[in-house]
Symmetry: C2
Subunit: 192 residues, 2 copies
Amino acid sequence: MKQQGLNNKELIVQAADQLFYEHGYSQTSFSDIAAQAGIPRGNFYYYFKTKDDILTAVLSFRHQQIEEMLTACEQHSDDVKQQLIYLIEILIREEDNIINYGCPIGTMSSELSKSFTALQQQVTEIFETLRQWLDIKLAAAGLADSSKPLSMDILARLQGTTVLANVYHDIDFLRRSAQQHKLWLTGILYAN
Amino acid sequence: MKQQGLNNKELIVQAADQLFYEHGYSQTSFSDIAAQAGIPRGNFYYYFKTKDDILTAVLSFRHQQIEEMLTACEQHSDDVKQQLIYLIEILIREEDNIINYGCPIGTMSSELSKSFTALQQQVTEIFETLRQWLDIKLAAAGLADSSKPLSMDILARLQGTTVLANVYHDIDFLRRSAQQHKLWLTGILYAN
DNA sequence: GTCTATAGCTCGATAGAC
DNA sequence: GTCTATCGAGCTATAGAC
């Protein structure tokens, strides 16, 4: 199960990240993570003192992944409008995961808001990173006046699509909905 | 803690319903439910054999509540268009709960899809009850051609709004978003 | 129908040898 | 840094008295 080039700490974070996404935070035990990472149970108390510490590390990892995805959007095109549309296509690039487990940060936020209020803040910051990126790009595309509500609107639409696609496990709905979002956003971006 | 007119079984279901919503299914223990219902721990194994049985009963209860809400929409007005708009206003009627805990059926679906796949089906059926009601009402409002995708679209928008409102604990966003949905739907319903 | 006591298990976390 | 052994607590669930 071990992968080359990763130290034990990274192995644990990667294993926990996957299990938290697929089974939820509270339903994933230390034993599960240890088995997935191929590391003896007791050993990773050397790396993480508490389960909360692991979650914090996983959320930092996801935050970093989101930032890398935003960078990928910027590398995809020099046109900010195309960057925005490429972001929405994350729904298609991750369609299998979304169908089965929903949005990694949306479902994590929902879980943490119920029983781990103190830890939810870190997820909110991931959303805020996304929202600010959208805000900047929308302003650059000539929509400075409405960029703030629009950025929230885009995030809400993406979340709504992932929830419904997961509820019905319906990949066709997911694809149609992604296409619809692209058309809607294109209409706004190229209105003038 | 006991309320009049409810037998023990109903007391347990009501207590579990609240705790599952506020703390999540897997984070709610038998002891928590017993304490909330004011019923000794061991006793309610007489009413429910397993924790799954309690969840099944809670989901039936929520399904029933959704149906009662749809009936309330129909009693609110004789105009199907006004019934549809009244449904969307659930976002405002439940704003405090949504801010703190998200949508009861949306967040439950997300949790169950990760670790209790077999039980998620029952939540999907609640969504389908909602969707079919929307479908019928949209068709009655003269939108038979697009009623199916529109009903999914309405549900997705509602879910997206609840997720973001919960992520940011932002009641102003929730209200603005609800108003936006009403304007959007009004535009569609009264287009001709 | 109601309640107590407790079995049997898994959890997160610790101590300490190597 | 790595690993074994194990603790105490809390969990779901059961047995059986009343």
